[in-house]
């Protein structure tokens, strides 16, 4: 998948999908645990414990069978300016000297603060991808709805996921036809105008498509929400996992604050 969002692909209403060892648990449990895990990561103090949470997050990703290449690509997805910030922090935070470059004073405090930010961000993202990213998008929608997220917002989420691949395919077709006419992107006004035209055409086609979609959906009695065909069933093992995870997370957070 050229656009790389295949894990977000629409899986219809079928609940069967290989989610590794985590697949057996109730999606509601996974979503709430992802939030609790993220909260624990943010609250915990000290680089060692944050690093421990990164290891936990990575293990969860392995257990959820997130493909390794995808996982690494996503961890590396910290955007340029976040990385830049971590590099700059030693110079902007006062503290004991780490080294000095041409009169600039780098501090240990800043270095550790930067490392903490990187560890926090990585652990949260790993937890999110393992526990929530392993859910098919329609299950994610159903989970959010059953946890009280407004139904229209959930329907919007499911429609967006549904049309990602369709719109992506349309974009690739238009981009290919530009390439067939020998268009080469560069840093110039011609490129910006041409890509602008591409965007404008994409928008018009999307609006036309949405009109057909609306008609077809109303034909089938769509009233703003998706029917739920497979209600979730909370099992004893979900209660067990929830209790164990909450005790462990609370324990680690309390211990770090002592």
């Amino acid at each position: 998948m050229a656009l790389g969002h295949s894990s977000a692909a629409w899986n219809g209403q079928a609940l069967s999908r290989d989610g590794g060892q985590l697949a057996a648990f109730d999606p509601r449990l996974k979503l709430l645990l992802a939030a609790a895990f993220a909260l624990a990561v943010v609250l915990v103090e000290g680089s060692a414990l944050k690093a421990f949470f990164v290891v936990v997050g990575l293990s969860l990703c392995v257990a959820a069978r997130i493909p390794r290449a995808k996982l690494l690509r996503r961890i590396a997805a910290l955007e340029g300016f976040m990385v830049m910030m971590v590099i700059l922090l030693p110079f902007t935070v006062p503290g004991p000297t780490l080294f000095t470059v041409g009169g600039l004073h780098a501090s240990w405090t800043g270095l550790f603060q930067g490392i903490d930010i990187l560890l926090t961000a990585t652990a949260v993202v790993c937890g999110l991808m393992a526990l929530v990213g392993s859910l098919p998008a329609n299950v994610l929608g159903q989970t959010l709805a059953s946890l009280g997220v407004p139904e229209r917002l959930v329907a919007l989420l499911m429609l967006t996921v549904r049309y990602l691949d369709v719109v992506g395919g349309e974009y690739r077709r238009m981009r290919n036809s530009m390439r067939a006419r020998a268009f080469v992107a560069g840093t110039n006004r011609h490129t910006w105008r041409s890509v602008g035209h591409l965007v404008g055409m994409g928008l018009l086609r999307s609006i036309d498509r949405a009109e057909r979609v609306t008609d077809a959906m109303r034909c089938r009695g769509f009233d703003g929400r998706y029917p739920i065909l497979y209600p979730f069933r909370w099992q004893p093992r979900d209660s067990l996992a929830a209790t164990a995870a909450m005790l462990a997370l609370t324990g680690v957070v309390m211990w770090s604050m002592l």
Binding site: G4, A8, T92, T160, L164, V167, G196, L204
Partner: protein, 202 residues
């Protein structure tokens, strides 16, 4: 322009979450079963657009197009950006969980407000319309980078330098977005005259 978890201070996170909640509530009130599909398809379109890269010298930048989103969807842009940002965080690892509110507000708020301010003049023929289109594209990216810088700066003195660099590094992006917006709206005007100005209702 996604901020990750572990950087911003609690008051900034709360303010961002509050702004996003309010904006989404306004947007959801306008969302019904008739305009749900078009909002979803447009939200997907902008998601795909954010994966398009335009070269800039030896490097490249990805499109944001938040200005166009605000122009087409109005307050519906808030739920659309929220959905896109949540999907990006969960499936791509961009951003985080607690910063979601800040990230959404930083992108959606300037887009919605700027589009509302420029809407009366943007469909005019000639230089006025072109200037408005450029302002919409460039201005919303610039305002977003300013809000990102503000979120960073309010979170601690150590982030002042990164905050300034964020704004400077987004100046070329804003310029490109401005030209793109002019191109996109010029095409829409030529292919479907009067459609977005008169017929279109999100």
């Amino acid at each position: 322009m996604h901020v990750v978890d572990g950087v911003l201070s609690a008051p900034v996170l709360l303010a961002g979450a509050g702004a996003t909640l309010a904006g989404t509530a306004v947007g959801l009130r306008a969302l019904d079963h008739r305009n749900l599909p078009v909002t979803g398809v447009l939200s997907a379109t902008f998601f795909v657009a954010s994966l398009i890269h335009v070269p800039i010298g030896p490097s490249s930048v990805h499109l944001v197009l938040s200005g166009l989103l605000g122009l087409l969807l109005g307050w519906l842009a808030f739920p659309a950006v929220l959905v896109a940002a949540a999907l990006q965080a969960v499936f791509f690892g961009y951003g985080g969980l607690f910063v979601l509110g800040v990230n959404v507000a930083n992108v959606a708020l300037p887009a919605v407000l700027l589009a509302a301010a420029l809407r009366p003049w943007i469909w005019r023929e000639g230089p006025v319309g072109t200037a408005c289109a450029f302002t919409l594209g460039a201005g919303s990216v610039l305002a977003t980078s300013l809000l990102v810088a503000l979120s960073l700066a309010l979170s601690g003195e150590a982030f002042w330098l990164p905050a300034k660099l964020t704004v400077v590094s987004h100046l070329p992006v804003a310029l490109i977005e401005g030209f793109l917006c002019v191109g996109a709206l010029a095409l829409v005007r030529r292919v479907r005259p009067g459609f977005l100005a008169e017929v279109w209702q999100p």
